[in-house]
Amino acid sequence: MFLLSAFSLISAVVNVSTGGKAWSLIVVAGAWMFWLNIVKKPLIENSAANRLSQLLLSSCATLMVIDLIYGSGFMHLVLPILMFSMLIILGAIFFLNFRKQRRNLMPLYYMVGGAGLTVLGAFIGILRFNWATIVLAGISAFYLAISIIWFRAPLLTELKKRFHVG
């Protein structure tokens, strides 16, 4: 943690001294991603689904930083593709073993939440509306629909637990 912070700080100082594009932000994002997915060991709920969704969301954040700095525009396509691929994997983990996974459904729904934000981003023009965004919206809607139809009770119980304030 200290090493990565020091490394990021040095990059920022060098970047500011030499000028040019803010490449040090990519270093910072990369260091954070490395720390989050490799160094840091989650002490609670260290499940495969959690690790996968964490890896994907941090990758998306890093990709967004790269795209914002270099402005090549690949994020508009890559981001939704990554998200729907991960949704398919998480959906398979969850729905194919529902009895065991019913109390472990939050990574999937956090992912659906992330997908919802991405689709919203496309609607308001931050991202381009393309085939990948449509697929992402479709898969998210499908998951939400089957959850509401078949898994409403466990989903509500799980949400009650996850968002309790007492």
């Binding site: 200290f2 060991k41 989650p42 002490l43 609670i44 709920e45 260290n46 499940s47 009895r99 065991k100 019913r102 109390r103 472990n104 119980t157 637990k161 996850r162 968002f163 309790h164 304030v165 007492g166």
Partner: protein, 541 residues
């Protein structure tokens, strides 16, 4: 080619049984298999193997299959595993801080041990655990992360007992949904349960340990009736056992503050692996009570005054106060059956310069102890905790957690020199007494606090345990001197029993010194740029 397998020990036992016994064994296993049908296959197999091993043990010890079935049927999981669990529990007010403040190296863990007269039989201990856990559904849980708070979610899996391989109170692995929030370990004649503090306090932990020990003895053929803090494993758990008993405490008009000034810390560099040392002082309990009575004080006050004197001798800071944390069992004031946390704390504080001999300190310690452990003061503490939870309840956990970790280290550790948790007299049923030598209680070390003390009395033996984070021996040496001077004749045991080397090698000491030194240099460098005041404190340290 047909490969002829060697029959398993259980198969040999089964073959040696009479026909009617074989039929009874078949029935036993088919009923047990049905009861655990919802578990994953690997765990089902493991539980059935646990029972097979127990039968083999009985067979080797000349116990008939019929008698063995009778004993093991009592400990069968029943319908505990036959339904998907739905219970979940928000953490109680005392527990909320623990998951937020833990890290990979430190976790709030305490340990209760019972010493039998003979070595533990692992096969029967495992069955005793299977039988006991169904009576404690609140213990059959795992911890989960909510958006605002952590919570405890019920879990059904095989709970395991294992030979002791780690230092006492080592952090538990609670990262998966099949992790246990407690650890059952055994070594020779010692059976220990180590609890993550979110689950229970000393009182609840002792109920579980006694019930487990009684169930274990029952499997050995000794019947111990329930009662006196020992539960019948086949009774239905009640809701009041898993209640958040803090809810019962009416709010006080004013709340107490948590914070105090930083306390004097004991000398010595914190070891990379903790606890660095564990010391048990065994004393005659009646002599200890007499010594306290002669001085017109309680046993806790007497030990506190010893700790104050020992802390002064074991510290180098010239300014500041020696502050010792004292957990208070709230069941003293509010009747509750809960086996969850129901403990608050107070602390006594004496300026280091005013700390004299233990005997001269006693009146002041007694006065402060009566004041801090009063119902009114405890109610104010509970009110303060409730208010804190109320203010923080809508702040997401990912924001609260890092801040809480820092605050815990500051509030719970920097402000205390040490802590003493006295579980008091634990009643051991008469039927159990011939098989139990003694109990002990080890409180895990704090984040920075160099020494934590814990005490428990069972029968005629009081055991005072000290868990240390440093190799410096001044504190425990002084404690020993004071106990001897007061005629308590302590019998010393400790680290070597747990495989902890008291004398670390020069190379290891050098590595620890260099590692600690490098860290200190880094902190100093940051402090130089960030905070002048902090730098001064580090230099002083």
């Amino acid at each position: 080619m047909h490969i002829r397998r060697k029959p398993t020990p259980y198969r040999l036992f089964y073959n040696s049984a009479a026909d009617n016994e074989q039929a009874a064994l078949d029935r036993f296993f088919s009923e047990t298999a049905e009861n655990i049908m919802l578990l994953p296959k690997r765990q089902r197999t493991a539980i059935l193997e646990d029972f097979e091993k127990a039968f083999v043990y009985y067979g080797k010890n000349g116990i008939s299959a019929e008698d063995a079935i009778k004993r093991l049927s009592y400990a069968s999981p029943g319908d505990f595993y036959s339904q998907t669990p739905t219970d979940w529990y928000p953490l109680d007010y005392a527990a909320k801080i623990y998951p937020m403040s833990m890290n990979s190296r430190w976790m709030a863990v305490f340990r209760l041990s019972v010493y039998f007269n003979a070595d533990i039989v692992p096969e029967l201990l495992q069955i005793a655990l299977i039988g006991t856990i169904k009576r404690f559904p609140f213990f059959a849980t795992s911890i989960k992360k909510g958006f605002f708070w952590h919570y405890i979610d019920s879990a059904r899996h095989r709970f395991i007992s294992e030979p002791e391989s780690k230092r006492p109170c080592a952090p538990l692995n609670i990262s998966t949904s099949s992790s246990q929030l407690f650890r059952v370990v055994y070594y020779k004649e010692r059976l220990s349960v180590e609890y993550f503090h979110i689950l229970t306090d000393g009182t609840g932990g002792m109920i579980f340990l006694k019930t487990l020990a009684a169930e274990y003895l029952r499997l050995l053929g000794v019947n111990i009736p329930a009662g006196g803090g020992l539960l019948n494993v086949n009774d239905e758990p009640t809701e009041s056992e898993s209640e958040n008993a803090f809810e019962k405490v009416a709010s006080a008009d004013s709340s107490a503050g948590f914070a105090a000034k930083n306390a004097v810390q004991l000398r010595g560099r914190i070891s990379r692996v903790v606890p660095a040392r564990i010391i048990h002082f065994e004393m005659d309990s009646s002599r200890l009570v007499e010594t306290a009575k002669e001085r017109n004080c309680t046993v806790t006050a007497l030990i506190l005054s010893f700790m104050l004197e020992a802390s002064k001798a074991a510290s180098e800071e010239s300014k500041g106060s020696i502050q010792i944390q004292v957990p208070v069992n709230m069941r003293k004031y509010y009747r509750s059956d809960t086996i969850r946390n129901f403990t608050m704390y107070g602390y006594i504080s004496v300026p280091r310069s005013e700390v004299g001999t233990a005997d001269t300190l006693l009146p002041e310690v007694t006065r402060q102890l009566a004041q801090i452990t009063s119902e009114e003061n405890m109610r104010r503490m509970v009110t303060a905790t409730k208010n804190l939870v109320k203010y923080l309840k809508f702040i997401p956990l990912f924001i609260k957690q890092p801040i809480a970790a820092i605050i815990y280290s500051k509030l719970a550790d920097d402000v205390f020199t040490s802590t003493i948790s006295n579980l008091g007299v634990v009643v051991i049923p008469d039927e159990m007494k011939p098989y139990v030598k003694k109990l002990d209680f080890v409180l895990g070390t704090g984040v920075k606090m160099r020494a934590t003390c814990s005490m428990v009395t069972a029968g005629s033996v009081t055991t005072l345990s000290i868990a240390k984070q440093t190799y410096d021996r001044s504190f425990e040496t002084q404690m020993r001197r004071l106990l001897i001077e007061h005629g308590l004749e302590p019998v010393l045991s400790g680290s070597e029993e747990y495989g902890i080397k008291d004398n670390i090698s020069p190379s290891r000491r050098a590595v620890e010194y260099l590692a600690g030194g490098a860290k200190n240099h880094f902190v100093s460098a940051i402090g130089f740029f960030v905070n002048k005041r902090r730098r001064k404190r580090i230099d002083r340290g």
